[in-house]
């Protein structure tokens, strides 16, 4: 059992707040992703769990035991660093074996366990190489193997894919997901890439400036973002956000009149996703000149400008038009989200 409890943990450096009042219980065997832009405190949170950073306030419990005062080595965790942090003087075999060696586990089991871990990440052919002789993807797999060789209670991964090229990232992502499923350990994964978060996570924590914005399953976060920050951070493209006013259930903004919205009168921010609208011949709720067109292969992305905001809509892949052409867009009002114009918080369900 390795349930992790974070009880109102905070991290401050002088007057600078790194993490503010983070309170969460991470279930045993859960894959939790901490997501946010750089400087949002996600890595700091992970480092506090690892014991590489002290908490200013709050308690961290792993498996029901308070670990605040324990050294990293005594927390039964394994960590994959963004820079991999392989030991440059040791070959791959020795790198993977290192956690077993320094913890004094029975030496007769080392070889078998190292080979097993290396096989899991397809490194058997490289055991004699030094890290400097490996490619980025291979180094990353050594770091993974080193983490899994000991079968710890908790895996911590700090942006493990960010130094890989796009293609390798996809395959390694799949590998990590598969590994974590097989090993059934509690995993905390830090990333700024929302696609990684969506694909890997059981639950996602979206953070901004040290404060948790929303905690939920990828679907919840995608379908019901708690505020405009989450809405603009999740999804590709991000949710369209248009500032306007509600007058008698009708949303009004430049070039846009969207009826059928159940909300009190006043200024609001309207949000909808690119796939929740489509291009129509005429009579759509938004009528504006095309700002840009992007061919994605499976679809065509049509963008218009409303006020300052860029609004992207997914059209059929065969849709063609010129920049500047007038276009009419139909918005599916049942998939619209309304946010408070000043706080950005979600209104209604």
């Amino acid at each position: 059992m390795a349930e992790i409890q974070l009880r109102n943990i905070s991290k401050r450096w002088g007057s600078f707040v790194g993490v503010n009042n983070f309170d969460l219980t991470i279930a045993d065997k859960e894959f939790l992703v901490l997501l946010g832009p750089s400087g949002c405190g996600k890595t700091t949170t992970m480092r506090m769990i690892a014991g590489l950073e002290d908490t200013t306030e709050g308690d961290i419990l792993i498996g029901g035991k308070r670990v605040n005062d324990l050294e990293p080595k005594d927390r039964d965790i394994a960590m994959v660093f963004q820079s991999y942090a392989l030991y440059p003087n040791m070959n791959v075999y020795e790198n993977i074996r290192f956690p077993l060696k320094v913890r004094g586990t029975d030496p007769s089991t080392h070889k078998e366990r190292v080979l097993q871990a290396a096989e899991r990440v397809e490194l058997l052919d490289f055991l004699d190489r030094k890290p400097a002789e490996l490619s980025g993807g291979q180094r990353q797999r050594v770091a993974l193997a080193r983490a899994i060789v000991r079968k710890p209670k908790v895996f911590l991964m700090d942006e493990p894919l960010s130094n890989l090229d796009a293609k390798l990232r996809v395959s390694t992502r799949a590998q990590i997901k598969n590994l974590s499923h097989d090993l059934a350990a509690t995993t905390i994964y830090v990333t700024h890439d929302q696609i990684e978060a969506m694909t890997l996570a059981d639950r996602v924590v979206v953070m901004k400036k040290g404060v948790v914005q929303q905690v939920g399953s990828p679907t919840e976060i995608y379908d019901t973002p708690a505020n405009t920050f989450v809405a603009s951070f999740i999804g590709n493209p991000a949710m369209n956000l248009v500032d306007g006013v509600i007058e008698g259930g009708v949303f009004k903004a430049q070039n846009s009149v969207i009826p059928g919205l159940d909300a009190p009168d006043g200024p609001v921010t309207l949000g909808f996703r690119a796939e929740d609208a489509n291009v129509v011949e005429s009579g759509g709720e938004i009528n504006a000149p095309i700002y840009t067109m992007e061919l994605l292969g499976d679809a065509t992305m049509v963008s218009v400008r409303i006020g300052g905001a860029l609004v992207a809509v997914k059209a059929d892949k065969n849709y063609r038009a010129e920049i500047g052409d007038q276009v009419s867009l139909h918005v599916h009002t049942d998939h619209c989200h309304l946010f408070d114009a000043t706080t950005g918080e979600r209104m209604g369900p």
Binding site: K73, M79, F81, S83, A85, Y87, P88, P131
Partner: protein, 293 residues
């Protein structure tokens, strides 16, 4: 492999090669001259009549029956017991290097991993002490050393040399440690090391080129030191450099200058061997820092 476009014109290549050869000759000349001259008698090496005598050695031939003589070496090593100085130098260098490297690696590591502001001021203070000429410190030491009967011993000199060396070793090792990413320590700690184990098993193996380079520089400072050793050592405890100076100081007796010349050559040989032996580590230590990739 070089394509035509990359090839320098022939005259340019000749000029550059000629320049390098010339530079090498100029740089090596004093040593080669001394080496050659050390096998002559004083009247040849310091001949007023004709400088060519130092090369041909007519006096040496006339006095010793051969153009080369090892009298200088015999006089220095056997007659004047230069071997005692060699042993003293060995002792001084060994202990200075060991002590300053031990303190330097531990201190440099601690400073490089410390998040506190004062580390900067500690290092700046160290730099100031390093910038001072050693002689300014030595004159201050003399009186208390006489009073407390510490003057003249090797141990005292070793401590003073370590004190003078330490800022430099600390700085140099600090900058080597700075180049080792902190993730390496952290990874080791997560993998099951204490801070000290991480230092010993992970950081030090990566640091070897840096430690060897620093050790060599520390060695050279101790080996070549004159100010401290000349002022603080009694005659029987003298190391090589002040001993050579004392050979030179007695010009009234013929031959002693040749002892000095022979001793100088003897003192240079170990340095050559050392640099040759460690050249790979030194070059990698000086150029790329300790780790790459």
């Amino acid at each position: 492999m070089a394509s035509k476009a990359q090839q320098a014109p022939a005259y340019l290549r000749i000029v550059t090669v000629a320049f390098v050869v010339l530079w090498l000759l100029v740089a090596a000349f004093p040593f080669l001259w001394t080496l050659w001259g050390s096998f002559k008698v004083e009247l040849d090496f310091f001949s007023k009549a004709d400088w060519m005598n130092a090369l041909t050695g007519p006096r040496t031939l006339a006095e010793k029956g051969s153009p080369f003589t090892t009298d200088g070496y015999y006089g220095a090593w056997v007659q004047e017991e230069f071997w005692r100085s060699a042993i003293n130098t060995t002792l001084v260098c060994f202990f200075v290097v060991c002590t300053s490297l031990t303190i330097g690696t531990l201190g440099g590591y601690a400073l490089s991993r410390s998040g506190y502001r004062y580390t900067f001021w500690l290092l700046i203070t160290a730099l100031i002490f390093r910038a001072m000429p050693p002689i300014t410190l030595v004159s201050g030491y003399l009186l208390p050393f006489f009073e407390w009967n510490l003057w003249g011993h090797l141990a005292t000199t070793i401590i003073v040399l370590v004190a003078i060396n330490q800022p430099f070793t600390l700085w140099m090792l600090y900058s080597f440690f700075q180049k080792i990413p902190k993730e390496l320590d952290e990874s080791a700690k997560v993998d099951g090391c204490t801070q000290f184990k991480a230092f010993r098993h992970v950081i030090i193996p990566v640091m070897w080129p840096g430690v060897i380079t620093t050790g060599l520089f520390s060695f050279l400072l101790a080996y070549n030191d004159f100010a401290v050793t000349a002022m603080l050592l009694s005659k029987e405890n003298q190391t090589m450099v002040p001993k050579i100076a004392s050979f030179l100081g007695t010009t009234q007796t013929e031959g002693n200058v040749m002892f000095a010349v022979a001793a100088v050559v003897s003192a240079t040989v170990p340095l050559f061997i050392l640099v040759m032996f460690f050249q790979r580590q030194i070059v990698s230590g000086l150029t790329q820092g300790a780790v790459k990739g």
